[in-house]
């Protein structure tokens, strides 16, 4: 387990250290051969795109796999759930779970897969082309795509919150006073998506705290962990990109650190999208578990 952990950490951090050492050698070469500067810049951009984009690409692939898994989970469970709803109208009324909300969550997953991820990839491609050919700049275009994606995602999270509070049966049972400082801390320290993150976590917490009546807290914790792990991993990788950009800024070419910064920002938006998926996963899983439990109680 420890070995596996070490290997995966080295696999992610290794390329970043390689970039640092390459920058050192590139600055030495630049010092001896100022005429060679353009070539060095090009080689460094190739290096970043071949080596460092690998973690970013893996994150995108992971999110795509997760969307497909959630969609197939829903498709597999839907006939069963529909039959259960028909069979037990009364039990369903007690729970106050809304089937419409389940549909909405799955719609969000499909929407993320078919629209949000391709648009985010387009933004990333615009960034890469801008850095490769600085004369033809698409910076504003990429920024526009990213900010509008964030607007979409936050609108969907707001819709989730409205659905949950409209349900009425579920209420925020955790101690609010204990939670507020933590929320503020996250909001202030994670750039771009900090406030979105706290809102989403709040919604998830509000929802799942209502479900503790029907399932054990440990099952809930394990569902949370499984659901949040990809999002947290992407957040860490995004931080790694921005951290490297901050470190190399004084002694590297403008394009190199700018490209790293852009990739980091794109990954933050990807993290926001993955929270959307996380929410759908948690909702679907808790729904299924609670429902099955209630059905077996009824017998």
């Amino acid at each position: 387990m420890l070995n596996f952990l070490q290997e995966s950490i080295a696999g992610i951090i290794g390329p970043f250290f390689l970039l640092l050492i390459m920058l050192l050698i590139a600055s030495l070469v630049d010092f001896f051969l100022p005429a060679f500067q353009k070539w060095t810049r090009f080689l460094l951009l190739i290096l970043i795109l071949v080596l460092l984009i690998e973690p970013a690409r893996e994150s995108f692939e992971q999110i795509q796999v997760i969307t497909h898994t959630i969609a197939s989970l829903f498709l597999g469970m839907y006939p069963l759930i529909a039959a259960m709803i028909l069979a037990s109208g009364a039990t369903f009324g007690v729970l106050n779970f809304q089937p419409a909300m389940l549909l909405f969550a799955q719609g969000a997953v499909v929407f993320a897969d078919k629209f949000l991820l391709p648009v985010l990839l387009t933004a990333l491609l615009f960034d890469i082309f801008t850095r490769l050919v600085p004369e033809i700049a698409f910076t504003r275009m990429a920024d526009l795509l990213r900010t509008s994606l964030l607007a979409f995602v936050s609108a969907m999270v707001a819709a989730y919150s409205i659905f949950i509070t409209a349900g009425g049966a579920l209420s925020w049972t955790m101690n609010g006073a204990l939670n507020e400082p933590l929320k503020e801390l996250i909001k202030n320290n994670i750039p771009v998506i900090g406030s979105l993150l706290t809102d989403t976590l709040g919604s998830i917490g509000r929802y799942s705290s209502g479900a503790t009546a029907y399932m054990s807290i440990w099952l809930l914790v394990s569902i949370w962990t499984v659901a949040l792990l990809p999002a947290v991993r992407i957040l860490c990788i995004a931080f790694l990109f921005r951290w490297t950009a901050a470190i190399i800024e004084p002694f590297s070419q403008k394009e190199v650190c700018g490209l790293l910064d852009d990739i980091g920002r794109t990954l933050f938006v990807l993290c926001a999208i993955s929270f959307l998926l996380t929410f759908a996963f948690i909702y679907t899983t808790i729904f299924i578990v609670t429902f099955i439990k209630l059905m077996t109680f009824g017998k």
């Binding site: 390689l18 050492i21 390459m22 050698i25 590139a26 030495l28 070469v29 001896f32 051969l33 005429a35 060679f36 070539w39 060095t40 080689l43 190739i46 290096l47 795109l49 071949v50 080596l51 984009i53 690998e54 690409r57 995108f60 795509q64 991820l117 391709p118 990839l121 990333l124 491609l125 890469i128």
Partner: protein, 125 residues
């Protein structure tokens, strides 16, 4: 340190030659220049390059070698073409430099292919 002294002595020798035998100066200059270039290359530049590469010995990727080797090739081509320009063969020097650039690009070609593949992998449709 000794190499600086040697280079300066060769420079003085060249100045003397231009007075002693002006007709023979171009061919003597070229021959002496080539000799000194090879000497400097193998006593200073190659050891320096390999020391630089030894820093990155533990790294798995060939990028550092690629950068240093192509910088060295570029430097040699630059110096030789400058010498040709000195003799009045500017166009020939340009040709020399361009072909060396093509050689360097050939070294990089596999990585450029990889770059294009990486970008291609991003496009989901």
């Amino acid at each position: 340190m000794a190499i600086l002294f040697q280079l300066f002595v060769v420079y003085l020798l060249l100045l003397l030659l231009s007075f002693a035998a002006p007709a023979l100066h171009p061919i003597l200059y070229t021959a002496l220049f080539l000799l000194v270039t090879v000497y400097v290359l193998f006593t200073v530049l190659v050891p320096f390059g390999s020391t630089l590469l030894a820093l990155t010995d533990k790294l798995p990727s060939p990028y550092a070698t690629l950068l240093v080797v192509s910088a060295g090739l570029y430097y040699v081509a630059d110096v030789l073409s400058l010498q040709m320009k000195d003799e009045g063969y500017g166009a020939y020097g340009q040709l020399f430099q361009t072909s060396m650039k093509v050689v360097i690009m050939t070294l990089w070609l596999p990585y450029i292919t990889q770059l294009i593949e990486t970008i291609h992998a991003f496009i989901p449709w």
